[in-house]
């Protein structure tokens, strides 16, 4: 019996949902939520197409999957055109950048190509991060930091779950029962994210943001040294 080493389903689903959550956390107007919904629907169609393909109906599966990919990417376009009516459409468009990452993550865990799967997930993650960073940079003076924090944590959870799906698939194949390990892993990541967000908020409320830029740079330098030390 041939073992199929494709990424595991549960973690893949977590990855896609967390990616959608990351974009949704940043969204502020209903048109953006609609765009996220369209992208998710596209990914769903893609998954259905892949399932049909694997059942042996290749002629039917490929077009369905292609439609899914198209709809997945179209979510971003639809969102952009819908938020065009607002004055702050530039900001709202920026908040949707992460939506471009959603289909990439989905293609990565499908996987459309086994060797490329990690790269595709990373590419999707990069878009999610870009969305968060853009939102933070442009809209950073908004009153509430929580969407930003949730967005970045959800992006990390999405990437982590995608990678977990891939490495579990690599090691155990797709016939093994793996969902407990997948749930415990992603659960751990999410809980840790929650804790770090809490810590961040405590720091925020301690009003370190009143510090001058030089001290922030110094802090950044210290963080850099810490990271280098961690990965040496």
């Amino acid at each position: 019996m041939r073992v199929d080493y494709r990424p595991r389903r549960v973690s893949s689903a977590i990855a896609v949902l967390a990616a959608a959550g990351s974009v949704a956390a940043l969204a502020t107007v209903s048109e953006q939520y609609l765009a996220v919904g369209i992208s998710l629907a596209g990914v769903l169609v893609l998954a259905f197409g892949a399932a049909v393909y694997r059942r042996g109906l290749r002629v039917l599966g490929v077009p369905i999957a292609l439609v899914g990919v198209a709809v997945g990417f179209a979510g971003f376009g639809v969102g952009v055109s819908l938020v065009g009516v607002y004055d702050r459409s530039f900001t709202y468009t920026g908040e949707l950048i992460g939506l471009l990452g959603l289909p990439f993550i989905a293609l990565g865990v499908l996987p459309v190509h086994r060797r490329l799967s990690r790269r595709l997930v990373s590419l999707g993650f990069a878009f999610l991060v870009l969305g968060v960073v853009f939102t933070g940079a442009v809209n950073g003076t908004g009153p509430d930091p929580i969407p930003l924090l949730l967005g970045i944590v959800a992006a990390i959870v999405a990437w982590d779950a995608g990678e977990q799906a891939i490495n579990l698939g690599d090691q155990l194949g797709s016939d093994a029962r793996t969902w407990p390990a997948e749930l415990s892993h992603s659960g751990g990541t999410a809980v840790f994210g929650g804790l770090s967000v809490g810590t961040g908020l405590v720091m925020f409320n301690a009003d370190i943001t009143g510090l001058p830029l030089e001290s922030l740079l110094l802090l950044l330098g210290a963080a850099l040294v810490l990271m280098v030390a961690l990965y040496k």
Binding site: M1, R2, V3, S122, V129, V132, V133, G136, A137, V138, G140, T141, G142, P145, L148, L149, G151, I152, V153, I156, D160, E163, Q164, N167, L168, Q171, L172, G173, D175, A176, R177, T178, P180, A181, E182, L183, S184, H185, G188, T189, F192, G193, L195, S196, V197, T199, G200, M203, F204, T209, L213, L216, L217, L220, A223, L224, L226, M227, L230, Y231
Partner: protein, 476 residues
């Protein structure tokens, strides 16, 4: 080597006890109680749990490495755009960079119990294997992956021998799968466990064995081992061209003083008055050394997931051993590979058991391919020649994966040890390379046959017994 052999004999029942450990009387007693409980049962204690779990490499997966770049990028943009919120958002990212350092690394606190629903199935039967794994430690194992050590000859038909789960201390996880029975005696390898901490930053590889080892025996059907006509001077089944005691008529000759009275041809004496002696063809026993090729080239397989050449070598050796065990032939065992392995020829049930033990457990015959290049095979071949007794013949089991093994067969034949080659065919037609390997193998077979070395070309879909019957018909 002789030490290890003696050790395995004394502990024939405690099948999987590490032959290298100096087991004192107490451990022996303990092993005995463990063995006498029902099949596959095992009561784990801290004292004896250690030798069943072998912790391997502990490595960092480095999967969180990229997060540092994200943190640096976000904080740089935050500083440049002078947005404190973005800097705040880098706090959780930086925390994730430290995450794999905070979660500690798991330890392999596991106990395995493996139950098979039928340990002596018929060929082709479905055998259900159930594996239960318990976390015996005090900490939960958040991400632990198991790959059961399915014997290479057994194909998994249903379910998966792989499993990943989360284990609280004291809890047990269970998974089962079905294998198709094949001829031979198949010992399950230890369960390979990969333990990751909750962040996935550290991965520990461990091998967890169960005690006693799980063995699936499927009685084999090699009707007769093809032997060359060289024998030792004790009665056996090989019909020789020498006259003497036996069943089949050989010749009559002139009476010599001391010939037994019962052999005198009395009718002839009555007719002619001449004393003649009737001779029968002598039936003698042979000394056979089964030589298993376990060098890296023997680990080739026809496709990924198929049993490799060594697995067939072992299965073949196993079946030949059984067939030879029913005769009075002296059987020895040798293997070349990582190191030289030798069991001197002998007869009897106990000797057969020792040989089977050796086949199942000797590190040279491990079904996992060697990592590094083996030691010089010439030394091992020299060692083999030194130990082969003058009248021994060699049955060489090899997929004939390279030129060396052909030259070894030829040189053994030349030095007076008749060689018979049993060669499982692990080549395929899938790629140009494998077709080339197939042609190479054909060439080796024909060069051996030109040197009048019989070769049993074993197409592995067929049982070895059928192949031997077919090829002996051709030889005759």
């Amino acid at each position: 080597m002789s030490n290890a052999t003696a050790d395995t004999t004394t502990k024939a029942r405690a099948t999987n006890t590490d032959a290298a450990t100096d087991a004192d009387a107490a451990t022996d007693a303990e092993v005995e109680t463990a063995t006498s409980s029902s099949y596959g049962q095992r009561v784990s204690t801290d004292a004896d749990g250690d030798d069943l779990v072998v912790e391997g490499e502990r490595r960092r997966t480095g999967r969180w490495r990229g997060i540092v770049a994200v943190a640096l990028f976000a904080s740089a943009v935050g500083v440049l755009a002078n947005t404190p919120f973005l800097l705040l958002a880098t706090v959780p990212v930086a925390a994730y960079a430290a995450y794999p350092r905070l979660t500690g690394s798991p330890s392999a606190t596991l106990a395995v119990e493996r139950v098979i629903d039928d340990d002596t199935p018929d060929r082709g039967d479905d055998v259900e294997v159930t594996v239960r794994i318990t976390n015996t430690g005090r900490w939960p194992l958040t991400d632990v992956r198991f790959v059961d050590g399915v014997p290479p000859m057994l194909a998994v038909r249903e379910g998966s021998p792989r499993h990943a789960t989360f284990l609280w201390p004291g809890t047990t996880t269970e998974f089962s799968y079905t294998v198709g029975a094949e001829y031979g005696r198949h010992q399950f390898d230890p369960v390979t466990a990969l333990l990751r901490d909750v962040s996935g930053g550290t991965e520990l590889e461990a091998e967890v064995d169960c005690d006693p080892a799980t063995v699936l025996t499927c009685t084999d059907a090699v009707p007769e081992v093809p032997l060359r006509k060289q024998t030792r001077h004790s009665t056996g089944r090989l019909v020789t061209d020498d006259g003497g005691a036996g069943i089949e008529f050989h010749r009559t000759r002139e009476y010599q003083k001391g010939d037994p009275m019962s052999r005198i041809d009395w009718k002839r004496y009555a007719k002619t008055g001449q004393l003649t002696t009737v001779e029968f063809r002598e039936e003698r026993a042979a000394t056979i050394v089964l030589l298993v090729d376990a060098r890296p080239s023997a680990y080739r397989a026809s496709a990924e997931g198929e049993p490799h050449g060594l697995a067939y070598n072992l299965a073949g050796a196993e079946q030949l051993l059984t067939a030879l065990g029913e005769t009075r032939d002296y059987v020895g065992l040798a293997a070349i590979g990582r190191e030289f392995c030798w069991l001197a020829a002998g007869v009897g049930l106990e000797h057969e058991l020792t040989a089977r033990e050796l086949l199942a457990t000797h590190p040279v015959l491990s079904t996992v391919p060697p990592d590094e290049d083996p030691t010089d095979p010439d030394e091992q071949a020299a060692e083999l020649r030194k130990r082969l007794s003058g009248d021994a013949q060699v049955v060489l089991l090899s997929p004939l994966g390279d030129e060396y093994i052909t030259s070894l067969a030829l040189s053994l034949e030349a030095s007076g040890h008749p060689v018979t080659v049993v060669s499982p065919d692990v080549t395929s037609d899938a790629t140009v390379g494998s077709r080339l390997a197939g042609v190479d193998r054909e060439n080796r077979i024909s060069s051996l046959r030109q040197a009048e070395i019989p070769v049993v070309d074993w197409t592995v879909d067929e049982p070895l017994g059928t192949t031997i019957v077919n090829s002996t018909e051709v030889m005759d």
